[in-house]
Amino acid sequence: MTSPHTHASPSTSRVMQWVVAATLPGLVALISFFGWGYLINVLWCVLVAVVTEAAILRLRKRPVGFFLRDWSAVVTALLLGLALPPFAPWWVSLIAVVSAIVVAKHLYGGLGSNTFNPAMVGYAVVLISFPVAMTTNWATPLELLDSPPGFIATLGHIFGFAGTVPDAFTGATPLDIYKNEIRAELATTLREQPVFGDFVALGWEWVNLAFLGGGLFLIWKRIITWHIPLSFLASLALMSLLFGHDPDQAVPVQMHLLAGATMLCAFFIATDPVSAATSNRGKLWYGAGIGVLLYIIRAWGAYPDAVAFAVLLMNFTVPFIDYYTQPRTYGHSKPKRGLPS
């Protein structure tokens, strides 16, 4: 036992629990605008994650209870549940979660040693493998449905015992629709479609604001720092203003910021500390990189949303960023740069 002899502040489990708590407003918003699919997804993902984690820990001969209690598997699963399309069939989420836990986390040596954001690895795996399921299973806002599906019906659709999901319930995301249809139409005409609602995209703006709120709470609790969210959102907005300032040609900036998984990414995914850059300055670069990549893939790529790819690509650059963004240490006239010589 050495110094220090006292210890304060929350434990890692507590940190993870706060992260879970901070996603709740967003989850509630998702459920209230888009139905039970999100809740079912989240619970299903968590269940799969905990079982998978326990199995792997047993295989690796690690104390199961001790490591399960770090809650990290729960957070990974939760993020996947929030990010996957709500009507995605159960096996899609299962594959996503298992890849996240087994491949992205444990094959890299377990919590803390993973290079890539586990949730996003899981997401990318299913996005590449099942592009159709991942594009068409987004929920139509409940407001627009005459008879929204109830909990049991949704459960039935996801687990396939109630037949396929009726077409009315599902569709593409507003981001996807805008991007594809703006080529043929003017912004004003396009915006008349009910999915865009009165502000940005029906329901999505509130969902994003709810995640924003949860994220600010985490910053206030000092569980995350402001660097990644701010540089990420700023660079995304900047890219959008630079390359897509005309709403008749491209997705407008407010939609980039408030539709899709933007705020979830800004405060909960990109900030995953394990796979993010280390120093404060490094985090600024890292966040900015995600913003730029996210815009590029959203604007010019074929995928409806690009959070997963943007984050994973920046994960690659982390070691490099870390070597070049060391803070200047006390007593040194300038920071050290690059690899040890």
Partner: protein, 573 residues
């Protein structure tokens, strides 16, 4: 008001200071035995001058050293030396070290002291000598010999002399009680130190959680040029580097010392000890220490003799062993666990904590580092503790150094906030130790390699020189032969040169060269031996002498032969 700067990071652990400030400083009665370690400071240990069974007086020198970086050790009371032997000492390693064990005679009889009522009459040199002879070593915790530090600072111009009264560690109030009760001693001590260093400004840095001490000092510095500077409470503001930044905005350069930027820093307790040493002539034989923790019924500050067993101090403070879970010397942030209660109080012991299980619960098992960066946000040295941890764990020592591991002051702020309860400081200490060892080995093998290369180069050079000389000789001989032939032809039937008696010139030159080479090589070997194998020196010296004589003889023979020849040639012509 003076501008107070800030340092990045830092933490606010619960202070727990009030509990030991209830009573004024108490005196601890004489223990049955005093255990005085010979090595209580940074630097060379002192050597014992007393013998078993010898009677000593209070203040008598027990041990000293001729080294500059060392301080003497004095008898804390009068009594009989019972042993000079290894004994458990307060050190994190738990190792034993040499101690003088004294049985007090109860008379507490001082040896004759040399007080100085008017220190203004003393020169800076006298002041320094008195400080050194009084055995003063930094009372703040590190124990750096004060005289040495002041002397080193004297060489560089000191602008700012700082007294460190921040005392930022939780629980510890030894300096605070001293500042409250004896501010005059501190201020006088500071003025004496200022006489030595002649700084432009004298500051006392103190955290704003000690209003009584601030008031007392402010009262005491009236009519002096000393300024009491109040800094915000934040751990580790009492770290030397942090306090310097707080008060001056300057930073001690990497690998440098405060004097490099014209600053020197002393602890308030050290200043008081300087005052007592110079004005009263008393060596450092006692100190104020805080006894705190839930396992004590009478927490507080005590003045105790150096060498008092911790067991004795604890008994005086109402120690309840059944409640004690941990015994710490120093503060809860940077202190270390005491292996036993038999270790003595030393010059650097500012606090002893007997904590209960509730105060110091055993640390939860470490979880994985999630790179949350909380450690980074609190590091006062602006390091990346999580990177240092990862590199320490994976033994990538070059990377750890690249990330400035050696600038870590081991303050423990990072480990304090780490949500995964990773013992970060332990990792850093371990890695630093490993790197130091590696460096030493590297240095050793480098030295050996350089020696080998030098030797190799020397042999090479000698060979070449020899070759060159041989060639030169051959040419000279050739030339001479031709000249002689020519002369003979010129002389046309003149008397042939007399055959040289004894060895001819060439052999003589060769002998001479050989002897010279030998002398050279012996000289070289001798100088090498002086550095590495002193036992071989006399033998080599003798050999060298003999060879020098031989060389001289050879040279004489050669000169003679040359003369003969010249004469012969002269005659021939």
């Amino acid at each position: 008001m003076r501008e107070v700067f800030d340092f990045p990071g830092g933490i606010h652990p619960p202070e727990n200071k009030r509990r030991s400030l209830g009573e004024p400083i108490r005196q601890i009665p004489l223990p049955e035995q005093l255990i005085v370690p010979l090595h209580q400071h940074i630097g060379e240990p002192a050597e014992a001058h007393v013998k078993d069974g010898q009677h000593v007086l209070k203040g008598q020198v027990l041990a000293s050293s001729g080294e500059a970086l060392s301080v003497p050790v004095h008898a804390p009371t009068s009594g009989t030396v019972r042993a000079i032997a290894p004994h458990a000492v307060p050190h994190p390693s738990g190792l034993k070290d040499w101690c003088v064990i004294i049985e007090p005679d109860g008379k507490d009889q001082w040896q004759e002291l040399a007080p100085c009522a008017d220190p203004d009459t003393l020169t800076a040199r006298d002041l320094l000598r008195r400080i050194r002879n009084a055995g003063i070593a930094g009372l703040g915790g590190a124990g750096f010999p004060t005289g040495f530090k002041l002397q080193a600072s004297e060489k560089q111009k000191i602008q700012t002399l700082i007294l460190n009264g921040a005392e930022c560690e939780p629980y510890i109030t030894a300096d605070q009680s001293l500042m409250q009760e004896r501010p005059g001693e501190i201020v006088s001590g500071l003025e004496l130190i200022a006489r030595i260093l002649d700084p432009e400004e004298c500051l006392i840095g103190i955290e704003d959680n000690k209003p009584e001490a601030i008031a007392a000092l402010q009262e005491a510095v009236k009519d002096t040029r000393i300024e009491v500077v109040v800094v915000p409470t934040k751990y580790p503001s009492g770290g030397e580097k942090q306090l310097i930044r707080l008060l001056t905005g300057k930073e001690v350069p990497h690998n440098g010392i405060p004097a490099d930027i014209g600053v020197t820093c002393q602890n308030v307790g050290t200043a008081a000890a300087v005052y007592r040493a110079i004005v009263h002539g008393e060596p450092l034989i006692s100190r104020i220490t805080t006894l705190a923790g839930g396992a004590l019924t009478r927490e507080g500050n005590v003045e105790a003799l150096i060498g008092t067993p911790i067991r004795h101090l604890l008994a005086e403070a109402g120690y309840a062993p059944q409640r004690a879970a941990r015994l710490i010397m120093g503060g809860p942030m940077m202190g270390f666990n005491l292996p036993s209660k038999d270790v003595p109080l030393v010059k650097t012991s500012n606090c002893i904590i007997a904590g209960t299980e509730k105060e110091f619960p055993p640390p939860p098992p470490a979880q994985a580092c999630i790179r949350c960066g909380m450690c980074e946000q609190v590091c006062p040295m602006e390091l990346l503790p999580q990177q240092l941890y990862w590199f320490s764990r994976s033994r990538e020592y070059d990377k750890a150094e690249q990330f400035n591991l050696f600038d870590c002051i081991e303050c423990g702020a990072c480990a304090y906030v780490c949500p995964s309860s990773i013992p970060l400081v332990q990792y850093y200490q371990h890695t630093k130790g490993d790197i130091r060892r590696q460096r030493e080995e590297q240095e050793k093998s480098d030295r050996a390699r350089i020696r080998f290369e030098q030797r190799q180069a020397r042999l090479e050079r000698e060979k070449e020189e020899k070759e060159a000389r041989r060639r030169a000789r051959a040419e000279a001989a050739e030339r001479k032969r031709r000249e002689q032939e020519k002369a003979q032809q010129d002389a046309n039937g003149a008397v042939p040169a007399p055959a040289a008696s004894g060895p001819d010139l060439e052999t003589l030159t060769e002998r001479c060269d050989k002897a010279r080479e030998k002398v050279e090589s012996f000289r070289q070997r001798l100088s090498e031996a002086r550095e590495q194998t002193p036992e071989a020196v006399p033998k080599l010296e003798r050999a060298l002498e003999k060879n020098e004589q031989r060389l001289k003889a050879a040279e004489e023979a050669l000169a003679e032969a040359q003369e003969n020849q010249n004469q012969a040639q002269g005659e021939t012509q």
